[in-house]
Subunit: 218 residues, 2 copies
């Protein structure tokens, strides 16, 4: 039977089980816990809405006690913003990569690429961030909304020249600005009905969208 005295005599290192590897800077619990909160919050915000989710729900999802999220985030709102900002940065990144990786493409091919990437970011596995951004923006402060609007403008900027070119070549008949808004609506609404487990694939979805918008698959 170990006494309290014996316990204090043991070397500090002995308290850590030998089999457990030392963690590097990048996997420090600090970042991991913060990350766990963001991921859990995204899932809950999407399923139950911002106002329908309690910070206790979020804490539990990350295996914490009820007050602990506030060690990582100043407020529930700050956590919401973190979810949305990470979602938008990820979306802008994926879009940039895709555009950079593709060689010289025709305007219809460019549109196809943008639509395809948009569906991936929106409907890909584990992607709750963008849906939350699309449907919970009401709960942000004006300042936070403005920051996100900047990222959204950056994202939309890639579409403008493509739509412009399609309009000038006669493939896109509608007014360019209104067409962009209607197109984003058609794509974004898919988070309401698309089910990855059944029905169409992302490829078929992309085909249908291209056919609808410019009357051809590419």
């Amino acid at each position: 039977m170990q006494t309290a005295l014996a316990s204090t005599r043991a070397a500090p290192a002995a308290k850590r089980p030998r089999g457990r590897p030392r963690k590097t800077l990048d996997e420090r619990d600090d970042g991991n816990r913060r990350r766990a909160l963001i991921v859990g919050a995204a899932r809950l915000f999407r399923r139950k809405g911002f106002d329908g989710t309690s910070t206790r729900d979020i804490a539990a999802a990350a295996g914490m006690q009820s007050g602990s999220p506030f060690y990582h985030f100043r407020s529930k709102q700050a956590l919401l913003f973190a979810v949305m900002e990470e979602g938008m940065r990820h979306a802008v990144e994926r879009q940039s990569e895709a555009v950079a990786a593709a060689g010289a493409l025709s305007a219809p091919e460019q549109l196809r690429l943008l639509v395809r990437k948009h569906f991936e970011v929106l409907l890909g596995p584990g992607n709750d961030f963008i849906p939350v951004m699309l449907y919970e923006a009401r709960s942000l402060t004006p300042r936070q909304r403005a920051t996100l609007a900047g990222l959204q403008a950056q994202y939309e900027a890639a579409w403008q020249p493509v739509l412009q070119a399609l309009h000038q070549s006669g493939r896109l008949k509608a007014d360019v600005k209104l067409a962009r808004l209607l197109i984003f609506g058609a794509l974004n609404w898919s988070v309401q009905w698309f089910d990855r487990r059944k029905g169409a694939t992302l490829e078929q979805l992309t085909d249908a969208a291209l056919a609808l918008f410019i009357g051809e698959k590419q």
Copy 2:
């Protein structure tokens, strides 16, 4: 000075001030108060979401005390359902009228009519009911959702033959089922960005949508 006795002697009609017209059954306060709750709730649910709106807010909007909404509705959820159901019944009605009033139309003309009516129901003045239905369905019971799904199916049924005809004549290239989902998305998303006071008119919006979907204005 009128005594209590004199009062009981007077004919019942004398109790009501002469200047105030008798109310018909349809404008009884009962219905008016219930209606006021529905209208106020729709506005608040749309602006702040279902979970972000308190029943006290709703009561105040209708000029009532905090507990009074529960005299008219069993629960907050029942009030939400009433908003959505009324919105959908109105939408189905408006659509039926429009279809009935129009003579024999070509398929593109039929599509234009449906799109135009859809925008009116969605974006017309004082129309918070449908936006609430589109964005707060998560807060319904499965049973309520099923009832609404029936009305929605009724609404969508008018579109199916039109899209089918356009597909067969080659004007609509996309798969009909996916096209319908994408089209509703394009239209429904407009509640997020359309501003009646500036920018496009409903007519221009309809033009753009028709041009985008079938490459022509009619």
